[in-house]
């Protein structure tokens, strides 16, 4: 059989996925530092669910199970979802979200390479819509919590929902800055008053900004490793920064400064790990810029005017639908053709 070219220099899909997971390690470390070891339980649970559901679906679909399990894509989805969920989410929420991500968003559409939507974001959005209360209950960073939960306590809480005797739920949770900002603004508090709260750090949220910085670090590693290109993160972050900057300049009393939007919420995770999912993103260079900028603008709009504190998941899913359109209209000029 004539199979030229006979040589190849490509990294395997598995190695790409492993590098993405490696890039997530600093963020996980930061998570443990800020919120405690519970995230490790969440990660393990999500990974297990992802592997089991993926294998089950592959079996049902008569696909080679080992080939696809070892590509690592299910684990990446699981990790991204786990990192997006509140750190002390109950076990069934994690399992359900991961199962939705793998079964509904990925395998039903045809598995690796065929999912039009970002699986982790579909899982996240499904949970957010269905269980808004649980999904917005974030534990306070250990440094701010009235009561510091140990690893075992966190694990118990994840699996049984029980806190150590005498500890109230309020003692270990706090609103996220974006959530707090939103509720306080509706109560006509001024931004200056609001940001006095200890949950705000220098750039974003106390603790959260450290995690965001770790994502940034991992993202730079991915760019250096040529796993992702600069187009998506730069366009996304620039869009958020410009939107936030313009609004902030217009009315600093009502709109938070760009730093909070860049380092708060899921901005950094999204910039380097979510929108850079190649399968559900556009393929043309111009398309990438449009896609990422669109998500940035929409995220900002949802944060400021929408019903949910953070809009990353919805913005990503919305622009996932637009990908074929964006691709069709941004085809690059082919060699030898006029514009």
């Amino acid at each position: 059989m004539n199979r030229s070219p006979y040589i190849s220099e490509a990294p395997s899909v598995t190695s790409i996925m492993l590098k993405v997971m490696l890039a997530l390690v600093p963020a996980i470390a930061a998570y443990v530092w800020v919120y405690g070891g519970g995230i490790l339980v969440t990660l393990a649970l999500a990974s297990l669910t992802a592997i089991v559901t993926e294998a089950l679906m592959l079996k049902l679909r008569d696909r080679p199970v080992r080939l696809f399990i070892t590509d690592g894509s299910a684990l990446v989805t699981a990790w991204l979802l786990a990192l997006a969920l509140p750190p002390l989410a109950p076990w069934w929420l994690i399992v359900l979200g991961t199962a939705i991500a793998i079964v509904v968003a990925k395998q039903i559409y045809g598995g690796l390479g065929n999912n039009p939507f970002n699986p982790a974001m579909v899982g996240y959005a499904a949970l957010l819509i269905s269980f808004p209360a649980l999904m917005t209950t974030w534990p306070a960073p250990l440094a701010l919590a009235e009561f510091e939960l140990g690893f075992v306590d966190q694990m118990l809480f994840i699996f049984s929902g029980n806190l150590p005797a005498g500890v109230a739920l309020d003692a270990v949770t706090s609103a996220t800055p974006l959530d707090y900002l939103k509720t306080q603004l509706t109560l006509n508090h001024s931004l200056q008053e609001i940001t006095q709260s200890p949950i705000f750090g220098t750039l974003g949220a106390t603790g959260g900004e450290l995690v965001a910085a770790a994502y940034l670090l991992g993202g730079l590693y991915l760019i250096q490793q040529r796993i992702i290109t600069w187009h998506l993160p730069v366009a996304f972050l620039a869009a958020i920064a410009i939107m936030a900057g313009l609004f902030y300049l217009a009315d600093a009393g009502r709109f938070a400064d760009p730093a909070l939007h860049l380092f708060g919420g899921a901005t950094m995770l999204c910039a380097f790990f979510i929108i850079t999912d190649p399968v559900s993103g556009p393929t043309t260079p111009r398309g990438k810029l449009i896609f990422a900028a669109g998500i940035g603008i929409m995220t900002y709009v949802i944060r400021v005017y929408g019903g949910y504190p953070d809009g990353v998941a919805f913005a990503v899913i919305f622009f996932n639908i637009c990908v074929p359109l964006i691709d069709a209209y941004t085809q690059p000029r082919v060699f030898g053709h006029d514009k």
Binding site: R63, P64, V65, R66
Partner: protein, 191 residues
């Protein structure tokens, strides 16, 4: 109640005028559908479909008299294309009208030919050259492989020869499917 009646009546009159006008103004002469169906048919003009050529068959399909699966030279791909065009469901070729064969050309055995011109009259695309009592020959590039010349020949000197694959008309094959099934799956299929 009366108002309702008046409104309905008025609307009926108004819309009736609009409908009448459109019926006259936008009337389509001829049937563009026939041309589009004809464009899909292979133009072999073999008559295997039961109609005397591709165009009559196209007209019959357009009128709904003929089914879309009566053209063996068009093959499965042809039926699919017709099904797509007409928005009907695909159905496999009707074996009554024959089965698809590799494309071939008619070849006249020039030693046997008596020059009767019967094949010339049968050829739907005038692809046979010759005169009475002179040897005939097929213009291979024009021959559609319809086989209509084979039956009339009184001395059976015409044979259909499949067009052999050569480096000139050879095609690259569809790449072998990349996902190899796991042994378990193959076994299940084999059983």
């Amino acid at each position: 109640m009366l108002t309702a009646l008046y409104v309905m009546l008025g609307l009926a009159l108004l819309l009736g005028v609009v409908l009448g006008y459109s019926a006259l103004k936008f009337k389509v002469e001829g049937d563009p559908l026939v041309a589009r169906i004809d464009a899909i048919l292979p133009q072999t003009q073999c008559g295997q479909c039961g109609y005397p050529g591709c165009k009559p068959y196209a007209m019959a399909i357009a009128k709904g008299e003929a089914d879309i699966n009566q053209c063996p030279p068009g093959g499965d791909a042809g039926v699919h294309a017709l099904a797509d065009l007409l928005g009907v469901e695909y159905k496999p070729l009707n074996a009554e009208h024959g089965l698809p064969k590799p494309k071939s050309v008619a070849v006249i055995d020039e030693n046997v030919c008596i020059g009767c011109t019967l094949c010339i009259q049968a050829c739907p695309v005038d692809a046979i050259l010759g005169a009475a009592k002179h040897m005939h020959t097929v213009i291979a590039s024009e021959c559609t492989g319809c086989e209509l010349c084979v039956a009339p020949c009184p001395v059976d000197c015409i044979t259909m020869e499949p067009i052999a694959e050569s480096p000139a008309n050879w095609k690259w094959r569809y790449p072998v499917f990349e996902i190899k099934p796991e042994p378990a799956v193959t076994r299940k299929i084999a059983e």
